[in-house]
């Protein structure tokens, strides 16, 4: 092979070859006209057959957004975004809305098969149907999936099975149609339209996302998940997720995401709202694997996301776990507002930046109720020329007597051209509250790598092992099957970062 071709192949295998989800699905799409104005907001609302109140809600958000400015405080740099140079609605062109999986475009089904996302419900073993736990074939717990492709939900599995328990799990646009009162009661109550620039944008143009309602006292019998896929060019994804856990209920929810490799930057600005009432528990896990751009920083997703939970009820608990490996830029702070007495907020995070990736991520824990407790464990890993910032706020109101917070921020550096930054804010207005903050910064030492290699591990396996060890406290919070995925992903994300 000529040297030039060989070089090109080698470079490709090192840079592009590592992102295994970068293919594009060729399918007929329907777009809104490019750009953003009131008509586009009306277009989206009409596409979804929305009631007038929601259109008004969107238009109000749009008016707010027009007066707002992009936040400049994050420690990330990027060229100005032209919000008029993108599509705000893109959906597979279906003549009729598919009623079952059989009616979904086979090309879409192939896409999800290729991504390893199970859309088909696994056969439930005879005799155990209706039991609390439902083991599927092979003894594994089934996972209910809502698959969002660009701007629309294409399929949601196990809806009927969950319906027997009174659980609602569907696309948010479907929820608006079928359960308008529930949606109206909660939408925007955790993240109001004017909360921040991207939340306002999302409120104006959000398309799909998942809606979950767990009734009183119900323990959701399976993991719920949403899989987000950006496919179309020059398209932003603005999903909105709303999860309500009624009194005494429990739910574990997962989300995953991927996108094709493109030279352009694509915007993903989501809003996630969680509401936990008395004694309710929500566990929300994210494995974020948007296309990170190439080794030179070309392309990749801008992941500008607002996630917030309100622990409204007494003794309620919300736990965020995130593994952030993808995206060119990540800007997100999954937060907990601890209103109910004795409520609990947790945030476990792993954020990796390799090549030219930038991440400014962390959490806000707002203590309002008495004896509220929060735990923050953040693991930042920087490699290549990646920049990684932990930004966190712990605020204790005067009402939050005997509140407790523990924060631990660890940074790991690989190589000498990356950066790690920790920006913790603590605002304590309560005499009886206690907050603790611990932080460390370390490197993968040459002697650790050599030790592993002397035992037969390749350099990349050694880095993977050491990084997984570094992240262990966070990874163990993930549901079992996700944890395995996440471990592999950590290793893949760091390919080419040593040697």
């Amino acid at each position: 092979m000529p040297a030039v071709t060989e070089t090109i192949d080698t470079v490709q295998s090192v840079t592009e070859g590592t992102y295994k989800w970068g293919f594009e699905t060729e399918i007929e799409m329907e777009f809104a006209p490019k750009g953003l104005n009131e008509d586009i907001v009306r277009f989206i609302s009409k596409k979804k057959n929305e009631p007038q109140w929601l259109l008004d809600w969107r238009l109000k958000a749009f008016a707010i957004w027009q007066k707002m400015e992009e936040p400049r405080w994050p420690a990330v740099t990027y060229p100005p975004i032209d919000y008029q140079d993108a599509y705000y609605y893109a959906a597979p062109a279906n003549k009729v809305k598919p009623k079952s999986l059989d009616e979904v475009d086979p090309e879409l089904l192939r896409t999800y098969a290729k991504l390893g996302i199970p859309l088909k419900e696994q056969a439930i073993l005879a005799g155990v149907e209706g039991a609390g736990d439902v083991p599927a074939e092979g003894g594994r717990m089934p996972i209910a999936v809502d698959a969002v492709f660009d701007s629309v939900s294409v399929a949601t599995s196990y809806k009927e099975r969950l319906g027997k328990e009174g659980i609602i799990f569907c696309a948010i646009s479907e929820a608006v149609e079928k359960y308008p009162d529930l949606v109206r009661q909660y939408l925007g109550t955790v993240v109001p339209q004017g909360d921040n620039f991207y939340a306002a944008l999302n409120s104006a143009v959000f398309t799909d996302g998942s809606f979950v309602y767990i009734p009183k006292g119900v323990r959701c019998p399976m993991e719920l998940s949403t899989y987000f896929r950006i496919n179309a060019k020059s398209t932003g994804q603005f999903e909105r997720t709303l999860i309500i856990a009624d009194e005494g209920s429990t739910v574990s929810y997962l989300e995953g995401c991927t996108a094709p490799m493109r030279d352009e930057n694509q915007l993903h600005a989501a809003v996630v709202e969680l509401v936990a009432l008395d004694d309710a528990r929500i566990k929300y896990s994210t494995v974020q694997n948007w296309y990170p751009g190439d080794a030179e920083g070309k392309g990749g997703i801008y992941n500008f996301v607002t996630k917030r939970a309100q622990c409204r009820g007494k003794r309620s608990k919300v736990s965020w776990t995130q593994v952030e490996t993808g995206s060119a830029i990540t800007w997100k702070y999954p937060s907990c507002v601890l209103l109910g007495d004795d409520s609990v907020g947790e945030f476990y995070s792993v954020a990796i930046t390799n090549n030219r990736q930038q991440a400014d991520t962390g959490t806000k824990m707002i203590h309002v109720g008495k004896r509220t407790t929060s735990t923050i464990v953040s693991k930042g890993i920087s490699a290549g020329r990646g920049q990684n910032t932990y930004r966190g706020l712990v605020r204790v109101a005067p009402t939050a007597s005997n509140a407790r917070n523990f924060t631990q921020c660890d940074s790991l550096l690989i190589g000498d051209q990356c950066g790690a930054h920790t920006v913790p804010y603590i605002e304590n207005r309560c005499m009886t509250a206690k907050t603790e903050h611990e932080a460390t910064t370390s490197r993968i030492a040459e002697d650790q790598l050599f030790y592993c290699r002397q035992r037969g591990l390749s350099e990349e396996d050694a880095v993977g092992l050491i990084v997984n060890g570094f992240c262990r406290e966070v990874l163990k919070e993930l549901p079992m099957e996700f944890a395995v995925e996440a471990q592999k992903l950590l290793q893949i994300s760091l390919e080419g970062s040593v040697g």
Binding site: A445, E446, D447, Q448, F450, Y451, C452, R453, Q454, R455, G456, L457, S458, E459, D461, L465, I466, N468, G469, F470, C471, R472, E473
Partner: protein, 248 residues
């Protein structure tokens, strides 16, 4: 098994090994003794392929291969094991996972099937029992919070699992009390046989009471200055390295 000819090496531009000639036949255990700064640890790192050691001349043949052309993990896969003087801590990495990953990496390279968690546990338990090491060793992070003796025992456990063709023990006796020394020595002796060779690097003769070598070499100033049988170690203990230096 191992043949070193005219090996010279530098660290940060300073020549440390100045022409080493050494042959360890299959099934033999050789000891290398020498004062501090004679190049003992450099020799073990050069043989195992650590970065930062520049080889300026000579050759090393191991099991019929040009050892110096291989990456560290390839050397490990072909049967070379280094028991570290200062075993390294890997926080958050479970010892069982580490040992299984290492064992499977080596098995894969040898074309043997990899072991799953249950199969591995069975093998590991046998080795632990034979070495009189408690099972909790598997549950802890790799060398994290281990005492000096525990770290060395963990090295011997790894050696027993990986079953190398050649083990280099780099001052494994340093920092060991007499009980730990016995466990470590028993571990090495248990592996002795026609398929196993070892290079025991030590400062003191004490270890060689437990691991009796076939040959003893004295390394001074980057060269092997004297070789002999086990009695040479005893002579060094009695008369010190100065006597050898005078003779050389």
């Amino acid at each position: 098994m191992l043949k070193i000819e005219g090996l010279t090496a530098e660290v940060e531009g300073k020549q440390i090994l100045k022409g080493i000639d050494l042959e360890v036949p299959v099934g033999e255990v050789h000891a290398i003794m020498g004062p501090n700064g004679s190049g003992k640890s450099t020799l073990s790192y050069v043989l195992s392929g650590r970065e930062g050691y520049e080889i300026t001349g000579g050759s090393v043949t191991f099991a019929g291969q040009d050892l110096l052309a291989l990456e560290p993990e390839e050397r490990a896969a072909s049967g070379l094991f280094l028991a570290f003087q200062y075993p390294v801590e890997l926080p958050g990495v479970g010892n069982a996972l580490f040992l299984r990953t290492a064992l499977n990496a080596v098995r894969k390279a040898r074309g043997e099937p990899e072991l799953d968690a249950m199969q591995f546990l069975k093998v590991a338990r046998e080795r632990l029992k034979a070495l009189q090491i408690g099972e909790d060793m598997l549950k802890r992070g790799v060398n994290v919070g281990f005492s000096g003796g525990e770290k060395k025992r963990n090295e011997v456990l790894q050696m027993a699992l990986l079953q190398p063709k050649l083990a280099i023990l780099d001052e494994t006796d340093s920092g060991l009390d007499i009980d730990a020394l016995k466990i470590v020595s028993d571990g090495v002796n248990a592996l002795r046989g026609p398929g196993f060779s070892a290079l025991v690097i030590t400062h003191y003769q004490r270890l060689l009471d437990y691991i009796v070598p076939d040959r003893v070499h004295v390394l001074m100033g980057g060269r092997i200055v004297q070789s002999g049988g086990p009695e040479l170690a005893k002579q060094l203990e009695a008369e010190g390295y100065a006597s050898v230096q005078a003779a050389a």
